[in-house]
Symmetry: C2
Subunit: 230 residues, 2 copies
DNA sequence: AGAGAAATGTTGGCAAGACAACATCTTTCT
DNA sequence: AGAAAGATGTTGTCTTGCCAACATTTCTCT
């Protein structure tokens, strides 16, 4: 039952299933963490990567005044550490914390980095996958930066919703956030967000119920958010 | 005289100089652009990469209301398009515009993507470089996100300055921005920024003259910003 | 050196949004 | 079903920061 997640994992895409199970799996170490366990702390050197099998990992940044900001959340199938092992310092700037009971499969980074650690062909595929993984990650960060670069609250909401609508191809879609999470993602006050959403609905810009949104001003928007990544 | 920039270029690091000049250079196309030329527009498919030889490229995001926000600026030695060719859509979400008279050396993306387009060894090195290039890029975006996640203007300034100080290793350093550029980078109002800087100096937090800053509260800060990339 | 231009600092009015406190609606658990 | 917990919406107050307009300094060019 484990391989189903691994096969869906972006990093292992296009690897022969037999290789995945026979050669790669035995090299991984299965680890379990309790809720709130710290997997990575700021400054930690990271020379491994891991695939989330069960649970969720939260990536967060802690500031001098004690406040934290949630940067990302990695569910099953996502990889942890892949963004760090190739940097020059190989040190993490963030915390990675288990949100629930967590189960991961951990591999030594050398598998990707050291030539010859794996059969050449497999390593080529893996690195290729790593490349697109990082690129898409980059793009996601670019999008979020574009959102946070917006000065006004309404603009942030609008840019976010427009992005989603174009990404899915429909003006109606569900977002993966609760109000509180959306507020954290947009870096705005939760109640102000609720307020603004109501106002936008009153003005006929959007319609929403729970986390299902419909963008009504469809005609006027230009199509800039052409990204296809998830 | 061209190779000096290419040798300093992160993407070409560790390539034998002879290979660089004899094999790689002939595959590139030299291009010149006038100030304000658009190299990449949102939605454009990008299947090439280019090294900036002279001048500067501005990466900017244009929004529905016509306002733009500057996301990045690439000087000589930096590469353009390397963040896009490996994404799934291979389409740009941003504008790339020549800030000055610009000169670049452009290569087909296939050199990196298609196996066999170059001698295996060279391609391995190139892909490895591309990997760290993307990773460091990722990290830079992470840092900027951490800054923009700050609610208050003072916090943004403080996080930025602390990052710089730790990155350089001294509490006194020069930043590569004018006030206006710094304001754009932090996504705040320029005059508000000036105001806040003055106040912080009055409170004894920092000292500054032009773009040389000194962080005075050195002792109290924790060392989280351990990044070493530029 | 002197004049113009560009960059930076300063001020006050005003709007946007943070925050707290409360109201209402949903979900979950027994 | 009923109670409790959680999520979301609403309202009012007060701070922050945007904006515009102006003052001052620094840079550039001849």
């Amino acid at each position: 039952m484990v391989p189903s997640i691994l096969r869906a994992c972006r990093l292992f895409r296009d690897l022969p299933q037999e290789f995945l199970e026979q050669r790669l799996l035995p090299l991984g170490t299965s680890r379990e963490y309790a809720r709130q366990s710290v997997l990575i702390a700021p400054g930690d050197p990271v020379d491994w990567f891991a695939v989330v099998l069960r649970g969720k990992v939260q990536i967060s940044q802690i500031f001098s005044d004690g406040t934290a900001s949630l940067m990302d959340a990695l569910g099953p199938g996502y990889t942890l550490g892949t963004d760090l092992i190739c940097t020059r310092s190989r040190r993490s700037p963030y915390y990675a914390v288990a949100a629930d009971r967590l189960e991961v499969l951990q591999f030594p980074g050398a598998l990707l980095l050291e030539p010859g650690a794996l059969p050449g062909e497999a390593q080529t595929v893996l690195r290729r996958n790593l490349l697109t993984l990082l690129s898409d990650d980059n793009l996601r960060k670019h999008y979020r930066l574009a959102i946070l670069a917006q000065r006004g609250l309404r603009d942030r909401v609008l840019v976010y919703l427009t992005m989603q609508a174009e990404r899915r191809g429909t003006p109606t879609f569900r977002i993966p956030f609760s109000r509180e999470e959306l507020a954290a993602f947009l870096c705005v006050n939760r109640s102000a967000l609720s307020h603004e959403l109501s106002r936008m609905e009153a003005e006929g810009l959007i319609r929403f119920r729970k986390n299902e949104f419909t963008l009504l001003s469809a005609g006027k928007r230009r199509s800039t958010w052409s990204g296809t990544e998830e």
